[in-house]
């Protein structure tokens, strides 16, 4: 299935190339299970582009952080490949005027889901996965212990299993046909609801247990397409001094409050913060909880309508109940 889409992607990239100065996509990584972003500046390299269930990175992360300020030569644009979830990040950046729509040529990739490598490792139990075959419904995983089969659904990323927007919400061209969403808004917050069912003490214990592992490497922040302060993050400034260098739990909680609250009403649920965490802390859940709140309270979901202003960046004099 993928080779067809891959050649379609190549064809559409070729067609768009005359208007582009740069194209951001995915290429093969150091083994079959890893992809790495590629910045194409020469049309001869379009053939490097790939599209498959391993294309995990949200390329919107580069858009505001690396290229927002650059202005194109001869009105040339920056091409960027986005999955459904990634497209929401782009829209959120547009909502905040952090990037200009005209600067980008958006190649939309309707997405059936991305494989979660950690789930594969957990399921295989082996230190080394030798190969993986993915088809429409099944994954065949080969390790020294033999070949194991799993339903594809079981090994998808958490964000994919709750995906409501598999089709890019903004694009100049689509690669492949639009797909049917997996869940609706009602089911999307099941993981949050599961935590909400715990008692207050259990919730505190849960987060203490998870956040205890945090290294404060800040990768979750750097991988976030909407954490745009980057080098000026208050988690690292000494004046004002929000955090010490200690590795005590209160510091770790505080860092995650900083990240999450700065994403309230802005997080597009791309799941990158959670994916990149080397300590496998489910940090995206915190932002999902905030999204559930902003949805219920302020009827807003980030990254859907480029015209809408994120609710915490504005106010409504007439609203009641708060």
């Amino acid at each position: 299935m993928n080779s067809d889409l891959r050649s379609e992607l190549h064809k559409k990239a070729e067609q768009a190339w005359p208007d582009l100065e740069l194209l951001i996509g995915w290429q093969a990584g150091y083994d079959d299970l890893h992809t790495t972003p590629v910045f194409i500046r020469d049309s001869a390299e379009i053939s490097k582009l790939i599209w498959n269930p391993w294309c995990t990175q949200n390329l919107a992360v580069y858009v505001a952080k690396h290229f927002a300020a650059s202005s194109g030569k001869d009105d040339k644009k920056i091409g960027v490949c986005v999955k459904g979830c990634d497209s929401r990040s782009l829209i959120a950046l547009l909502q905040e005027n952090l990037v200009a729509r005209e600067r980008f040529y958006i190649i939309g990739m309707p997405c059936k889901g991305i494989v979660d490598l950690r789930k594969l490792h957990a399921l295989s139990g082996a230190a080394r996965i030798l190969s993986v075959q993915v088809n429409a419904e099944q994954v065949a995983l080969k390790s020294a212990a033999g070949v194991l089969h799993f339903p594809l659904d079981e090994v998808l990323m958490r964000k994919c299993r709750r995906c409501r927007y598999p089709n890019p919400l903004i694009h100049d061209v689509l690669v492949g046909d639009p797909l049917t969403p997996r869940t609706d808004a009602h089911e999307a917050y099941n993981d949050v609801a599961a935590i909400e069912r715990l008692s207050l003490q259990e919730r505190l214990a849960f987060w203490q247990g998870e956040l205890d592992r945090c290294l404060r490497c800040y990768a979750c922040r750097n991988a976030c397409p909407l954490c745009v302060c980057q080098d000026r993050c208050i988690a690292e400034t000494r004046d004002p001094k929000w955090l010490t260098q200690y590795m005590h739990l209160p510091e770790k909680f505080m860092f995650h409050f900083i990240h999450a609250l700065h994403l309230a009403g802005r997080c597009t649920e791309c799941g990158e913060c959670e994916r990149v965490c080397p300590m496998e802390i489910p940090v995206a859940l915190i932002k999902e909880a905030l999204n559930k709140i902003t949805l219920e309270l302020l009827d807003f979901e980030a990254g859907l309508d480029p015209q809408r202003v994120p609710p915490l960046l504005t106010f409504d004099a007439g609203e009641t109940g708060i």
């Binding site: 259990e202 214990a205 203490q208 739990l249 209160p250 409050f257 609250l261 106010f315 708060i322």
Partner: protein
């Protein structure tokens, strides 16, 4: 900031942080004082220019470090000295209030409200109620202590 509360039955002092806006609630608290309305003494007031200045992280940090309660009070909506500061604030504060329990921190330890400079009586009532509420919740354990060394099996 954390205190040891060995005997919860004992009526020891609570640590309640109050963030009051300069133009209304700080004045309201002053009015209550001038009128000699009796008030609990657990509140430690921090004056802010406007509730619009309230970074929800001020509140999160207080509660994480073990403050027993946090009270934010400003001008009534539509009466903000800066016109709209409290209209921004109420959204942020409500979002925080709903988020705290998700992380295991009791949302009842945080309250935001509006008290004008002339409402000495209302101020007395707000402080008394909130202090009672915090007293009934007991001391805040905060997010405890140093991180346990690495992993558990």
């Amino acid at each position: 900031m954390t205190q040891s509360h060995d005997n919860p039955a004992h009526k020891q002092a609570l640590t309640i942080v109050g963030f009051l806006c300069n133009w209304c609630s700080y004045g309201g608290a002053d009015t209550a004082g001038v009128c000699r309305f009796k008030q609990p003494t657990d509140l430690r007031i921090i004056r802010v220019p406007c509730t619009g200045r309230m970074d929800p992280l001020f509140i999160a940090r207080s509660l994480i470090l073990g403050a027993d309660g946090v009270l934010v009070s400003g001008c009534h909506p539509k009466d903000c000295h800066y016109a709209v500061g409290n209209l921004y604030a109420r959204r942020r504060l409500e979002v925080l209030k709903r988020m705290l329990p998700f992380m295991g921190i009791d949302g009842d330890r945080f309250r935001y409200t509006w008290v004008s400079a002339s409402e000495g009586q209302r101020w007395q009532q707000v402080v008394t109620e909130f202090s009672e509420q915090i007293r009934s919740l007991g001391p805040n354990p905060g997010v405890t202590g140093k991180s346990a060394a690495a992993a558990t099996a």
